[in-house]
């Protein structure tokens, strides 16, 4: 390896062919990851009635663990090499925010998790691929302190991916649209995560969520149905709160910082903001009222 090729981007026909091949490989990895997650979910939902009442659920636990973890790892492998350095460096910050805020909320006993603020923040700033990778990696790092979150890596990746799609679609330009996007994301993420709680752990990790599941079980639901209904109550509200908090944090960031991200510039993720140039209007927005920023400025 010569010094030149370490410092300069390689050009020429050979590297272009290699690039398209690498792109195709990444596309295959993405598709494989998504397929693994969807197939595992369908398999568990279709075979569960025979499994839960009769003896140990370790078969379903193995399938859930294997399928969802494989999917998450494939998604990380597909997304990570494409990310630019500013995004990569921001990922540990998002992981730490997820862990610290999630642990704080887990201790309060409320039926909310609020463990994805950092993931949504990254997804808004850097796009769906970065969001998915952050969600999955953050779960892996958190599992060093709490191994029970590890099987939920695929759900966390889905949240990051959907948050990125919402940001690309302009749902973070208006403050009131962000919780709506969070609500829809929560429905999907809750439904995907429910089989893990049901088959790997046999229940939910918190007392608040456990009480909600108990109520549905008392009405005669199967365990998967009860946990899915509980997820449909908790998760949409939870993700609406998370998206709203992440939106407020993004509005509070200075433009100099947000416009470092090509995703924010290309898709006009934040309304009324033009790239900071010396000729642009002076920044007179008080930082104490960040939420009014996108409402008062005209769309560029």
């Amino acid at each position: 390896m010569s010094l030149q090729s370490l410092l300069l981007p390689a050009t020429g026909a050979g590297s272009a062919a290699g690039k398209t091949k690498a792109q195709r490989n990444r596309r295959l990895l993405e598709l494989g990851g998504a397929a693994a997650i969807v197939a595992t979910y369908l398999f568990l939902v279709l075979t569960q009635p025979a499994d839960i009442a009769s003896g140990p659920a370790s078969f379903a636990a193995l399938v859930a663990l294997g399928g969802f973890l494989l999917g998450a790892v494939l998604l990380i492998a597909a997304a990570l090499p494409t990310l630019p350095t500013p995004t990569l460096v921001l990922m540990p910050v998002a992981l730490v925010l997820n862990v610290v805020l999630g642990q704080l909320m887990g201790a309060t006993g409320l039926p909310f998790y609020v463990d994805a603020i950092g993931t949504v923040l990254i997804a808004v700033l850097a796009g769906p691929a970065a969001g998915a990778a952050t969600g999955a990696l953050s779960t892996i790092v958190w599992s060093f302190f709490n191994p029970t979150v590890l099987p939920f890596a695929a759900g966390a990746a889905l949240i990051g991916f959907l948050a990125g799609l919402a940001a690309r679609g302009g749902l973070f330009r208006r403050f009131y649209l962000a919780p709506v996007a969070g609500f829809v994301t929560g429905i999907l993420a809750g439904v995907v995560s429910a089989p893990i709680a049901a088959f790997v752990f046999g229940g939910t990790a918190g007392l608040g969520t456990g009480a909600v599941v108990s109520a549905f079980r008392a009405m005669g639901d199967t365990l998967l149905a009860a946990i899915t209904k509980q997820a449909l109550i908790s998760d949409p509200m939870d993700k609406a709160i998370v998206f709203a908090i992440a939106a407020l944090l993004v509005y509070a960031l200075p433009r100099r910082t947000t416009f470092q991200f090509a995703f924010v510039r290309t898709f006009r993720v934040l309304a009324g903001m033009s790239p900071a140039t010396p000729e642009s209007q002076p920044q007179t927005q008080p930082e104490s009222q960040p939420e009014s920023q996108p409402e008062t400025q005209p769309e560029a």
Partner: protein, 250 residues
């Protein structure tokens, strides 16, 4: 105390133990594995930290399982006691015991691994096996950032208190306090990340090509054999469980 084993050996041992315990699905085995992991943790000098982390995870989970399956298990036949809609059934209690001990064993084994492994060694070992260097950077950076962050949060709180922040008892006052601390924290961290990105970019972090590692890890043939045997044993256990329990279409 960091472990003297190669990090991949302890990772393989912990992962395979967790998977085999899950595949077996027998509560006496789960209890035995959990006890062994707890004893090993005490022996390695991390008993207090592992047990504290495990209790924080397992106590809410265990109580939740006991409430859920102990009181409401519609599939249960052997009713031990009943109050209105709540019925204590033998099947429900044994399901709660099964699920609780299985999770407990896995949590203790994995915590024993994560509290004894040295994160930089683990990242170096994984990078030598073809893990993308970006993953290594993100993992190592996050694990070192976590302790630094608590110190930073304390500094921000001290600064805000010096400016007159008083946390009252009401919910609104507490939320206002969270906002006053969270916004400077996130702004500072994002700003720092930008500076770090420029520094890394100037050192060709983003360009492809081979990397050299400063860390040399000791690996022995014995550990290599152990890893291969553990992976084979785990694969056999999983295959056996999948074959014996494959759901028959109704």
């Amino acid at each position: 105390m960091p472990s003297t084993l190669h990090p991949l050996t302890s990772l393989t041992a912990a992962g395979c133990t967790a998977v085999i315990t899950t595949a077996a699905g027998l509560w006496p085995l789960s209890v035995a594995v959990a006890l062994a992991a707890a004893l090993l943790a005490v022996g390695a000098g991390v008993g207090r930290r592992v047990l504290a982390a495990a209790v924080a995870v397992l106590v809410p989970l265990g109580l939740s399982l006991l409430m859920l399956h102990g009181l409401f298990f519609p599939e249960g036949r052997t009713v031990l006691a009943a109050w209105g809609p709540a019925r204590v059934t033998a099947e429900g209690l044994s399901f709660a015991l099964e699920a609780g001990t299985r999770t407990g064993a896995c949590v203790l084994v994995l915590l024993l691994f994560s509290f004894t492994v040295s994160a930089p060694d683990l990242v170096a070992a994984l990078a030598a096996r073809g893990l993308p260097p970006q993953v290594g950077f993100v993992l190592a950076s996050a694990l070192t950032l976590l302790p630094a962050m608590t110190g930073r949060l304390a500094a921000i709180r001290a600064a805000q208190e010096a400016r007159g922040l008083v946390v009252g008892r009401g919910l609104l006052s507490r939320l206002a306090a969270v906002r006053l601390q969270a916004v400077p924290l996130v702004l500072g961290l994002v700003e720092d990340a930008g500076v770090r990105a420029q520094a890394l970019e100037a050192r060709s972090f983003g360009t492809p090509g081979p990397r050299t590692s400063y860390r040399q890890l000791q690996d022995s043939p014995g550990q290599r054999v152990f890893r291969a045997a553990a992976v084979l044993l785990t694969a056999a256990a999983v295959a056996l469980r999948l074959i014996t329990a494959w759901p028959v279409a109704p």
